[in-house]
């Protein structure tokens, strides 16, 4: 029973981090109509950047502070060079982001090396939880993820820029007519989505392996969260990410992880076919 609790808590922690990454994917989809296949690799770049900054400066907290800025700048650059020129063929952006994914993975492999590495947790020690010794850092990571999620929604709902983003999501043309700089809002949103993925990576770096392939593993999970939550439905994405991760954690306690993964893929399949607007339909993008 304790094991079940531990796996459920693990799932919750992962779910919150995944929610952060999937949120980036969801907002990029909702605004730009782009399926960003490179999003998992943004996460991977986040883990690598987090590890490198923490190694060079000796401070993990500095890494947490700088990685999102790096992500934002990277996002702006990619939006300008790759996304904007190819956006007129919405369907082909899947292909350009696939090319981007190749470039990111190979660049990291060429510079960082192909060897998977582990990062020491910045907060050592364990706390007793349901009769188990639970790593403190995982709880800290979950806390970080929650802070970021809350900050994101405050930004989206309480600031002028956030209102613009919501306006553009709602209707590009009307937003343009009202004098909102739509092109710049789109660029900003893409950069914001990228920054979310990178900070997710930096937070997750101490509890996962750091290598050039982690993005490939995490991308399907993020897509599941986005689809089950409803494409472009931000709150739904978060709920689905947490729900899925906890469920996978629970299923893992009785069978092997691959079966758990297949089960959640099957769930996603059913949602796509039966409720293509997501489980929490009603709120549309």
């Amino acid at each position: 029973m304790d094991l079940v609790f531990a796996l459920a808590i693990n799932g919750l922690v992962w779910g919150l981090i995944i929610a952060l990454i999937a949120l980036g994917l969801s907002i990029i989809f909702g605004l730009l109509d782009i399926i960003n296949v490179a999003h998992g690799d943004f996460f991977m770049v986040g883990t690598v950047a987090g590890l490198l900054v923490a190694e060079r400066t000796g401070s993990f907290w500095l890494a947490i502070a700088t990685v999102p800025i790096v992500g934002f700048l990277l996002g702006l650059l990619i939006e300008r060079l790759v996304i904007r020129p190819s956006a007129r063929l919405a369907s082909l952006t899947i292909v350009t982001t696939f090319g981007l994914s190749m470039i990111l993975q190979e660049s990291v492999r060429a510079t960082f090396g192909a060897q998977p590495r582990r990062m020491a947790a910045p907060v050592q020690g364990t706390v007793p939880l349901f009769g188990l010794d639970y790593e403190i850092y995982r709880l800290v990571a979950a806390g970080f993820a929650i802070v970021c999620l809350v900050a994101f929604f405050l930004f989206l709902n309480r600031t002028k820029l956030g209102t613009w983003i919501r306006a553009v999501r709602h209707d590009h043309e009307t937003a343009t007519a009202l004098g909102i700089p739509v092109t710049r809002v789109c660029a900003f949103t893409f950069a914001l989505g990228t920054a979310l993925a990178l900070i997710g990576g930096a937070i997750a770096a101490p509890i996962t392996t750091v290598e050039f392939r982690t993005g490939v593993d995490i991308l399907p999970f993020c897509f599941m969260a986005v689809v089950i939550g409803g494409l472009g439905n931000l709150q739904g994405t978060i709920a689905a990410a947490v729900l899925l991760a906890v469920l996978e954690g629970l299923v893992t306690s009785v069978t092997d992880p691959t079966i758990a993964r297949i089960a959640s893929l099957a769930v996603m399949c059913a949602v796509l076919l039966l409720r293509p607007r997501g489980l929490f339909a009603g709120a549309t993008r």
Partner: protein, 338 residues
């Protein structure tokens, strides 16, 4: 000389060159390249499968590797477990792929665009994970090796894949047949119905085309093409592995198609050939050659979304104004892209 004649001559030249290639390469002592050429032909079938869906019906699939994998495993498993002959093994592989595509397609073609792309990825992921966990049967990531049965065994006359040149010609003839069928399909009423759906599915349904059935048919034919590719690849490598079912392989096929030219007959072949040759030449001097591939893809989509063959045909239309021999290169319909 009219443009259509030039196009037809170019097509004939490609076929003749491919038919004569092993002879020339062997004369030059470059036997290795005969196998590379055979590999290009095999992979071009996977690209052709993507092209049939994207270029003719307007559906972007990121999961064609699944049917490639079914063709591969159908062939490999029937040889190892039942000891069947060459042609029966190929047939079983293709049938397995077609059956899978028929089932998956019935569900997948209910969706379009983004949703369709996602569900094709999910299907391929599910079976990728299944193949990975069914290690005793599939060999998982390590794969399973087998020895290929002879192509023909008529008493004294025996033809095996052991000789690279023989193997090349077997692959070449099968691929030629597939591409010829695809060319016929593109001009048939069925192919025209596909293209009507690509251009505007609502209008197509109003003139009496059963859009769902047509999309499903295209999906099954595409599955068969990928299945032939997979079955040949299993025979070619005497090997099958779950790692060929992962969505990155499907993605590469999409890349080949787009670089070559979506919606053109030879586009998938040209794209596959260019990128595999790029890999063969560049990977030895630049380990991270995939950065180059990624850059090429992005540049092609931005500056020449019609691909190499599409650009060639556009040049032709400009100089001639006449009709071109092949199907029109696909323009992604703005309405469907929304």
């Amino acid at each position: 000389m009219s443009r259509a004649v030039i196009d037809r001559c170019a097509l004939a030249a490609v076929v003749v060159l491919l038919a004569a290639a092993p002879w020339a390469l062997n004369a030059l002592g470059a036997t290795f390249w005969v196998s590379v050429l055979a590999e290009i032909l095999i992979w071009s079938l996977l690209a052709a499968s993507v092209n049939l869906l994207l270029g003719y019906v307007g559906l972007l699939s990121f999961g064609q590797a699944l049917y490639f994998g079914f063709g591969m495993y159908g062939t490999a498993l029937s040889v190892t477990h039942w000891g069947v002959g060459f042609w029966s093994a190929l047939a079983i592989g293709v049938l397995a792929a077609v059956a899978m595509a028929a089932v998956a397609g019935a569900l997948a073609v209910r969706l379009t665009w983004h949703y369709f792309a996602i569900i094709t990825v999910i299907f391929s992921l599910i079976f990728y994970f299944l193949a990975m966990s069914a290690k005793p049967l599939t060999g998982g990531d390590d794969g399973l090796s087998f020895s290929a049965p002879p192509v023909f065994d008529l008493g004294g006359f025996k033809l095996t894949l052991g000789d690279p040149t023989t193997q090349y010609y077997v692959v070449f003839l099968i691929c030629l047949a597939c591409f010829a069928l695809k060319a016929l399909l593109a001009r048939s009423p069925l192919g025209l119905a596909f293209m009507a759906i690509r251009e505007n599915d609502r209008r197509a349904s109003l003139i009496g085309i059963n859009v769902y059935l047509m999309r499903w048919t295209a999906f099954v034919i595409a599955g068969a093409l990928a299945g032939v590719g997979g079955a040949l690849f299993a025979m070619f490598g005497r090997y099958a592995s779950a790692s060929y079912m992962v969505y990155h392989v499907s993605g590469e096929a999409v890349v080949w198609t787009i670089v070559g030219g979506t919606g053109t007959l030879l586009g998938p072949f040209v794209g596959t050939a260019l990128l595999i040759l790029f890999r063969e030449f560049v990977s030895s001097i630049w380990e991270s050659y995939l950065i180059g591939v990624g850059a090429i893809v992005i540049l092609v989509v931005i500056f020449a979304p019609e691909g190499v063959v599409g650009a060639w045909m556009r040049l032709g239309r400009r100089s001639d104004g006449g009709e071109t021999a092949d199907a029109e290169p696909a323009t992604i319909p703005a309405e469907a892209a929304k």
